[in-house]
């Protein structure tokens, strides 16, 4: 009794302090979203900072124009969706100015012009567009490369496979699942310079302009400042310096890494801080979600076995909805859908959205087995307790629940492990937990195998520890 009260208080305190932190962080004038894995325009470097052409341009422009902003690194898709849902004030993410986008967004003056190239694996038999017939082409959603690929698809007769980040796309080409990819020239060429084993085999097509975007009719002042700042840094040479720095440099120069640190342990010690942060976020999410989901699950379970029709009906409806919905859909719905629906600039911090997502989903699963556990307690127990004169809730709490919960312990342990693993899905709404940390590290150093191995080992260690802890608790209870 005492212990769970302590848990609830701790949990509320954690949520409270988190709200405190976010409101504090939002003291900046603007929130500007960017992509996470689009080197050299934006990518994460050691210690979790973001660098790249977009990042540096924005910084220089803000300095010139004296405005402050908070940078929010999301996937390109999430950034664009958030802009249209009014969750952020602007997006700078190597975003092409297209007529379609101009319907919903206002763009700055172009700050960079680039074209799309086709890249294939080294030694590939594909030499030009004609060789693509019947093959699969990898595209990154929302990019100019994707638009170009789609536009020539029927002409050259290839299949299309979409990805959410560049590295997974490159990798698909590298291992041969896809035969080619279309990518912006500076991005592709930067990647190749930094070790991606692909070659560019076409000239630049469909040259397009990159622009900074705000939601149509909103933030005109910000747009004006951006344009003025852009003109100013072009005039004083800062602009060219930034472009040169990224287009003609190796990633190691920018991030300060050395070749000798590319071994497994070298990479590990180098990224220790970043991995630690991601790990901590995963743990935080897991612990808070487990507590909330368990509370919700207990409530749903108790409702589910309540006498009368209403309680069980409410319980099974909630369980049905949230167990049936894929976690990712639920996360998007809460993070992007609900603010969209409410409007008025309503925002949900990603962490809170992630927590609610896990609470509802894992809580529904928990509710189902809690209900089953209570039902598995012999009916005679409730009857005996009631026959002594104990009211329903007292009988439930003193007699049925303790026995039911004992039956449920293995299911709880299982659910805790699933919750831990499910936190990784929340990377889609931009929460930088362990999995997203991996994506970000690989985005700059392209060491997919070693980093994913590292992350897999960390998850296994956590799950082992969690299992030991649970088994210890289980032994104590029995």
């Amino acid at each position: 009794m005492k212990k769970w009260q302590v848990a609830v208080v701790l949990c509320l305190a954690a949520i409270g302090s988190w709200f405190g932190l976010t409101t504090h962080a939002q003291a900046a004038e603007y929130t500007i979203a960017t992509d996470t894995t689009f080197a050299p325009f934006e990518f994460q470097v050691k210690g979790g900072q973001y660098k790249g052409i977009d990042i540096d341009l924005l910084k220089a422009i803000a300095k010139k124009e004296h405005f402050t902003y908070q940078l929010k690194a999301l996937s390109f898709n999430a950034a664009v969706q958030q802009l249209s849902a009014n969750q952020v004030d602007g997006v700078i993410a190597g975003m092409n100015i297209t007529p379609a986008r101009e319907v919903t967004f206002d763009f700055s003056k172009p700050y960079y012009t680039s074209g799309v190239v086709m890249a294939v694996a080294k030694g590939s038999t594909v030499k030009n567009f004609n060789d693509l017939k019947g093959k699969t082409v990898a595209l990154k959603t929302g990019t100019a490369g994707a638009a170009y690929g789609k536009s020539i698809q029927s002409k050259y007769g290839f299949k299309i496979k979409y990805f959410n980040d560049s590295n997974t796309m490159y990798n698909d080409v590298k291992v041969g699942n896809s035969s080619a990819c279309f990518e912006d020239y500076p991005v592709m060429s930067y990647g190749i310079k930094n070790g991606i084993p692909l070659t560019i085999i076409s000239k630049q097509h469909n040259a397009g302009d990159y622009g900074f975007a705000v939601k149509k009719g909103k933030n005109a002042a910000l747009l004006k400042k951006f344009n003025a700042g852009l003109a100013a840094i072009k005039a004083d040479g800062t602009y060219q310096k930034i472009i040169n720095k990224y287009l003609h440099a190796k990633e190691s120069k920018i991030t300060g890494e050395t070749a000798s640190s590319r071994t497994f342990f070298g990479l590990f010690s180098q990224n220790l801080g970043t991995l630690g942060k991601g790990l901590w976020m995963t743990i935080e999410l897991t612990v808070i979600s487990i507590i909330l989901a368990t509370l919700l699950g207990l409530i749903l379970g108790v409702l589910g076995v309540m006498p009368g029709k209403l309680g069980p009906a409410v319980s099974s409806t909630i369980i049905y909805i949230f167990r049936g919905m894929p976690l990712m859909v639920l996360a998007f719905f809460i993070y992007i859908g609900i603010p969209d629906l409410i409007g008025h600039g309503f925002k949900i911090p990603a962490f809170i959205a992630g927590m609610i997502t896990l609470m509802l989903n894992e809580g529904a699963y928990t509710g189902a087995f809690v209900k089953g556990g209570f039902q598995a307690v012999d009916k005679g127990q409730m009857e005996a307790a009631r026959s002594l004169g104990l009211p329903y809730w007292k009988a439930m709490r003193r007699v049925v629940m303790p026995q039911g919960i004992r039956i449920m312990i293995p299911s709880f342990i299982n659910q805790f492990i699933i919750t831990l693993k499910d936190t990784s899905i929340l990377s889609v709404i931009g929460i930088v937990e362990l999995t997203q940390t991996g994506t970000l590290i690989i985005a700059r150093n392209f060491e997919g195998f070693k980093i994913w191995l590292m992350i897999a080992i960390i998850y296994l260690i956590m799950i082992t520890l969690l299992t030991w802890l649970s088994n210890w608790v289980q032994r104590r209870i029995n």
Partner: protein, 248 residues
């Protein structure tokens, strides 16, 4: 109504599960200090009848008044009614998550009938009375069936009920355990407890009952002093039933 001698008044009691009518209009009055044994073939509705007396089953029709409380009156607080009725089940239904003492003290303490210390004392006295003084801290799973049933009786007695209902208290027991439980019940009867006992123990019924009630097919077919019921049964179904039971 509290000081009339009637402990139980059942009138035209019906109970149906869906289409099937299990109780078909029972009438029964039980006086203070009376011990009534109910016998009858399996499925005749004896358990259902007992459960209707404590609202574990809700009658489809008819009236049940117990200890002066009318169960069909919506103002009646059923928890209060149950505090004054001791119920003993065929399968004991002890709480396996509590030891013997905790099983007995749970209700008196939770319902603020007794302080924890007083409840503890009462529980130990009751355990002494049922011959299990040394089992106070044992878990139910560590007890034999006969011992568990005696704990269940002690648990019911801890609430100082005004009437005790027993639903085949010995039929889940190994034969050598039956005697101990019946001895406890006989002592209760001698102490003046009002009791309704559904049983297949004809010897017990003959020896202890003030009245024996025979049920078949949802109706009371015959009722009377043990001597009359066992030596001069009138109803052919009772004659048939007794033949079967005695010739087993």
């Amino acid at each position: 109504m509290a000081d009339t001698a009637l402990k139980v008044h059942v009138q035209d009691l019906h109970k149906s599960y869906g289409e099937t009518e299990v109780l078909k209009g029972l009438n029964l009055d039980i006086k203070n200090n009376e011990v009534v044994c109910m016998i009858g073939p399996s499925g005749s509705g004896k358990s259902t009848f007992l459960r209707c007396l404590t609202d574990l089953e809700v009658p489809s029709k008819g009236q049940v008044v117990i200890n002066g409380y009318d169960l069909s009156d919506p103002k009646t607080n059923i928890d209060l009614v149950r505090e004054n009725i001791g119920m003993v089940f065929q399968h004991f239904n002890l709480f396996p998550n509590m030891n013997v003492l905790q099983n007995i003290t749970l209700a008196p303490v939770q319902l603020k009938k007794l302080t924890p210390a007083a409840a503890d004392k009462t529980a130990r006295d009751l355990l002494d009375q049922v011959g299990l003084a040394d089992k106070a801290t044992a878990l139910p799973t560590a007890l034999s069936g006969g011992q568990q049933q005696r704990v269940a009786i002690a648990r019911a007695l801890a609430m100082h009920p005004k009437i005790m209902l027993f639903d085949e208290p010995t039929s889940a027991l190994d034969p050598e355990m039956v005697g101990d439980v019946l001895d406890v019940m006989k002592q209760l009867a001698r102490d003046g407890m009002t009791m309704i006992v559904v049983t297949h123990e004809m010897g017990f019924a003959k020896e202890v009952a003030d009245r024996v009630v025979f049920m078949a097919d949802g109706l009371i077919r015959e009722s009377g002093a043990p001597k009359d019921i066992f030596e001069h049964p009138q109803n052919p179904r009772l004659q048939d039933f007794l033949n079967k039971v005695i010739n087993v």
